[in-house]
Symmetry: D3
Subunit: 341 residues, 6 copies
């Protein structure tokens, strides 16, 4: 795409995820699945699977669990060039416990991410060249919310990337357990002047940013207040923890147009964690690989997110050929084979 | 609640349950899940999780499998004060094999519980103080049906508990493979004069007790024939082995009133075994913790049963905070988060 | 049935199947389930479980993986009398990789069956008595399609079995990755003069054999062109990878009658591989055990296929008593127990 | 060998074995390995793997666990022609719990085999032809010890097989938890007049049969008291639960000669259960396949037993080619490859 | 023993332990075993299994992982009466990652226990009655080393327990990654005036406490400097990560006598973590159950520790009957059965 | 080291390895561990873990199993820049079945690698720059032996790499199942003129190359016949499949000196496959990172090989810090901690 070595760099924390297998519960059982995740990691992985050259900017412990995380994400094809290792004896990998749901029992998350090596990330650990190394930079409200230091680091990095001509992508990803709506609004409004591609759900627009009107009206209003080019909003209908419908709408401010398609109905949800991040991965792939085709962003975003829901763990596993197949079948109204042979 | 050390004691057999994992079958495969269950155990565990102080009155082998059973149930928070250990060389833990179903294949149970240590239970093994140690005593038709000795022991214990002012709870739990309807009717009518809280399904009322009319009419008629205070009846609609709808109705004879609520629809059934017992656990918790509030019994019974359906094994795992959350969400018609974070 | 030692012999390749457990993917994960399958094997196993004396005619490697395959299929009750072992150092067991699907992700098959020991099968390895040893002989289009040698061997065997008075059963089982529709049509038309029982789906009749009209018209037209006695055609509706509806119609040329029943709706699909073969197993059992009762063939075919969908792996596991139970429940419109105790 | 259809039939109980995997314990853990075993079954399986045509004479439940047992043993290549199914509602598969040891903790067995379907075995269930169907018949002291009925049945069968010219093989296999030494001595002395091949350990000869002298003297003395042709005695040195040394000596009365070889030293013991039975399988193979070559019996007995110690479960898995390889390497004093490629 | 409700209370942190199964490594693999441990917990569990009434004094998170820990330790039979739950949103369960070794690769531990709920433990959370509730109180240098707050709490509790006439047991358990030898020496010397039973290894006596002479001389010297009644010191010889020899010596100051026995040689080490704590459990059982018999302490300490080495996880699983069997066999020089039947 | 982008490129086949877990056997069981390996891959991985920048030159299928292999090896830190994907419908990943041994049962390998995508590797698929991209190039006799095409490709590549000034490393790795000793000798003598670093075992020198004398004499003689700089030879003593002793000697022709150290005795062997390749990885690391220090090569070779023996699978997992620790402990004769904390 451009001549920069990376298409996409994301900044964020890499977490260890511990979940009982299948239908087992946190409060009992003798084993955990050992996985990794993290909103910005998930985006980098999803986009790498689709063919972008991506990397994560992060800090993680130098000990074996940091090495585990590195090995795992390398297997998904993203770069660890900007992994900084925390050599201190207190170095820790933030983690969370996750339990699958079954109606009427909801999925459950218990976080243990305080004081992880990531929250001590230091801008000075990264070379100046990094800021000119990528076409697009992405981070989320989670990184802003974690602590004073990550907030400052993220905002500084956004400014530096922007200055070097990098496209800035931002996902609000509001988490009530990390900060209040007021804090989120104040902080994010500080960075919106730098943002080119903005991901914000209808609920968040309404409840956190105090927007009013339809989802399309709210999306457009962001582009009036700030020099945002593209706003994307996903819609998820939860029929049960095992069945969702997923779609999205994207607004292109320069053309003043909305893009959407038929949602994916009754997805067989295996693991819904990371499907929003997979959407962003697909949407950024659509935009970056096409020079800004929002319809392609909708299609790749929706398909990548729908597929992610069928995969255990935070990370997507679908490469370009798989996503292309699903998009083609989604649009094909004729008879279809029931199996890929 | 009262000043007795236990809120609830139940009398019954503790069984080993052996099931192939997931979709595997009894007739093949190389491993079994190793769990414990038993109607009265399930009730004691469910009520303990909700906060009652409960215990099981039982006899089990002194060898390692008896120790396994003890360790397992202790982990669920119930007391083993009234566990009597069978030291004989013939001591055995009754067991059953269980296979999950998938339409059109039904779940399957194969019993191997004859001659277990439980059927040699002896009243004299238990101290007289036991009869004054609990607010409520519960047993089921299974214990009556197992053999002459368990029947006699159960009836004697019911009498002694009743004499000491204990609330008597009884669940018909009719099993055609243990006795005939006629035997069940004759035996249970012998103990109904002692029963305060009576659990009986519509089918059993009609087929075994030869009642006629609507389910509510049948429930009420029991209270006319016997000095029963409360009659509860559950309703389950089986859409497939993996999807049920569950609700119940409770009749309070003193107020001559029926209590019910909207059933839980399309429960994601993982394991339906023990969900009826979980209902009783919830209903008894509702009654005992409130001094007899039947609406609370309906709500806690339904929610506890619905939750149990989503849990593998006979035993529930939901504590008071989880059940409260599900009740609140069941009654809340507004938008809901799809996950507990 | 007859005085021949076998009721059914089938000719075909025995494959190793490697699948990630549950929802895991081929491109990651650390283990495979180790199973065996193969269209004609599946038929022989399914019919053996129902009580026929069946065997597979095949060639497989003499090394440990050939022994594994032998041990595994013996456990399902079929004979290995006609297993020929390839002692060469190149001997290999053909295999395929299989991944389960979840909407919108389809199940996926990757084959690695070229140059397996089976494709070097040699008629001379089998004794002449074999051709008089069975009431019915069955093979499929897959064996015809694998290579020149298996095609020639299969056709020769069909001729020899036919000459000895054996009933010939044939399933088109068209696979576009093995040959073209034209090749299939030409080859199969060469053997149709020998076929008594013909299994062909509506799609294949239309697309491969260029038939026109309704499915019933097409079925009948085969019996006009060739001396086929019975034509069977299955219908599957795929609601999602986890929910299918399955039914069939059978045409009896001598009576000029069609047989069908209410399909099995919304089957809880665990693994759809081999369900078509299970249908044939059930249908052949119905026909061979009754002297040609097509209604029995429909009932046993549908029930066996419906049940197979609920079982992991290619091979069915349902014996006669299980299939009889499902048939009885399928036809019983009254209230049913939800569990087999 | 002879023209009888079987080379070896054994009479005995088929047990379900439940063991925690690896180093886990009976008193905790969430799963069991699901295996089958039984002294006489183990012998029949071991000999079948070496190429004899063998079968087990037994009775087992008609329900799914009986089917499981049948499927499992069929996969090892033995016949189920003389499996009688107990259709009663009390039918049960005897079972035992097994836990591996690690010094200073010994392996542990907990039996639950009382009242199994086997103990109700009835001679009348078996056809008269059975008594002429095999070259050799084998049973053990366990079958004699289980109960009055199995003792009577075993003795009657021994007499009938003997009358038809069958070689009678018998293993004392003394188990102090089933009967006393006195009972064993009295009962076994009743059948020794019929026995041709007698397996008896040094300890049992001394403690149960009150023999005196060296092991060789004791072995010989049996052949003086009874018309026994061959006496075999194994020697096991237990260095730790994970390291044994195993050897044997065989006495041929007709030649008045002893046969032995260098023991297998420091065997890597994975599971020692069934290794004595594997010895008998190898020894009987040696004798029956050679017309009575005792040196071959020693070699195949020792090698098969040594190999069995390295295999989890009761059942051996080593076929003739594997046993031949081990015998060759055991006798080969030159350099050896460390791997079979 | 006394009329206090508990025989032993211990104060310490309860940790989650995450280990790859078997020979897998931290830096790769997809699952963790989910266990609990902690030096003082291990002691309480080991002593409870032997029959003492024990409990742990600790603080842990109120969320699901705290409940998991509670459920798990309850299954081992210890009391949770003095579990205080941290309701804060930062509540966390300290944890450590553990990898088994194989020569020349050593076992490895990575800690992540900073800022756990335990380090915020508050004396005021515990009732005054606690200090009179137990015959013996035990804690270790780990609790002293964790942080200022746990050190102060531990020392205060030691004083209060001592004042109420409780026997004080203390294990140095020096961990170089928690504090320096100088810090340890200074702090522990502050509490030695209160200690009755003192556990200290030879290395620690020499390197940390700067003692000189033989191990026996060093042990005795502690009793000269402080009013310590009993000093115990274990000796472990590591042949490889899978084979250790373990023994101990105990000094009784009042009798001025040393007690020891033949060590356990070449223990089959499965998991050496917690074996030192198991020693203490056994030794305290020996002392408390006998009124101070040091030889019994040596025997139960050594046997319990030797057995623990054969058990995966931190926690012992051996009850009194198992330990008694091992002691008897350890002292029995005659022939032994190789298996417990 | 040099300014070339890679330190080491290796040429070879990447195989799928399928092994039963632990002590299970190929001929039974229901699962396989899914791993990758290959002599030259193992070398590249081992050296990458130690810090070299390495890559594999290979061809593999474009389908999901090729992607699996790519993902897996990427997780070990080597480059896939020179992975060529076979898009043909016949593309296959060569594979082998592996079974662990236990004395007297040896480990066993069954190959199924014929006609894999690798054997169709085409020099033209690789860019000319590749030949100048690495400091060292390594391949083995396996690649030469596979088929005419791989032999020609390997020899051509060796020539081209040599011409560009690359250090050529070669391991004989003789496999009797791929070619005869005569074929091997003739072929390898053709490439020895290009080889700088030569790995050859004592047995192969004697049996294949017909060398005579001591191992040191034979090693030296190679350097007289050819312009080889360094010859390395490993020595393995197999005590049992679970215990080996491993050491090596390296000869430096320019200095005419031999380097060796005390072997690693009684290694706890978990999986010996790939330990010879790990030796080469360590030795090449030692040489390349030091500019040819043969003592460093011996130390890193031995330690890396010893460690690999303790790791399941073909691939090593030990990074520089782990290997350094083992080297330090191997040389340290003082007391050592038994655990890494």
């Amino acid at each position: 795409m451009s001549d920069r070595p990376f298409d996409l760099l994301t900044l964020g924390e890499l977490l260890l995820r511990l979940s009982p297998a299948g239908v087992e519960r946190l409060v009992r059982g003798d084993s955990f699945q050992k996985q990794v995740g993290g909103a910005e990691l998930n985006v980098a992985v999803g986009a790498a699977l689709l063919g972008l050259h991506t990397g994560l900017v992060t800090q993680l412990p130098a000990h074996d669990m940091g090495k585990f995380a590195k090995n795992k994400v390398r297997s998904y094809g993203i770069s660890d060039d900007y992994f900084v290792y925390d050599q201190s004896s207190n170095a820790r990998l933030g983690l969370y416990y996750y339990e699958y749901g079954a109606y009427p029992r909801k999925p459950k998350v218990v976080y243990d991410r305080k004081n992880s090596s990531f929250v001590y990330i230091n801008e000075d650990s990264f070379p100046d060249e990094m800021y000119k190394a990528t076409t697009c930079f992405h981070t989320t409200g989670i990184t802003l919310a974690l602590c004073e230091n990550t907030r400052k680091t993220a905002i500084d990095m956004i400014r530096k990337f922007k200055e070097s001509g990098t496209i800035i992508s931002f996902d609000v990803n509001f988490r009530g357990n990390l900060w209040t709506g007021e804090e989120a609004k104040a902080c994010i409004e500080e960075i919106l002047p730098y943002v080119d591609i903005f991901f914000c759900s209808e609920d968040t627009a309404r409840l956190t940013f105090k927007k009013e009107g339809t989802v399309k009206e709210m999306m457009k209003s962001f582009t009036k207040d700030y020099p945002i080019s593209i706003v994307a909003s996903t819609q998820r209908i939860v029929h049960s923890p095992k069945s969702h419908t997923f779609g999205s709408v994207i607004y292109d401010a320069s053309r003043d147009e909305y893009y959407e398609e038929e949602p994916y109905h009754n997805i067989d949800v295996v693991d819904r964690i990371g499907s929003g991040d997979a959407y962003i991965a697909g949407a950024l792939y659509g935009l970056l690989s096409s020079g800004g085709d929002c319809m392609k962003a909708v299609q790749y975003g929706n398909a990548t997110a729908a597929l992610k829901n069928t995969i255990p763990g935070d990370l997507p596993t679908s490469d370009l050929s798989e996503v292309n197949t699903v998009i083609r079948e989604h649009n094909d109204k004729g008879p279809q084979s029931e199996m890929s042979r």
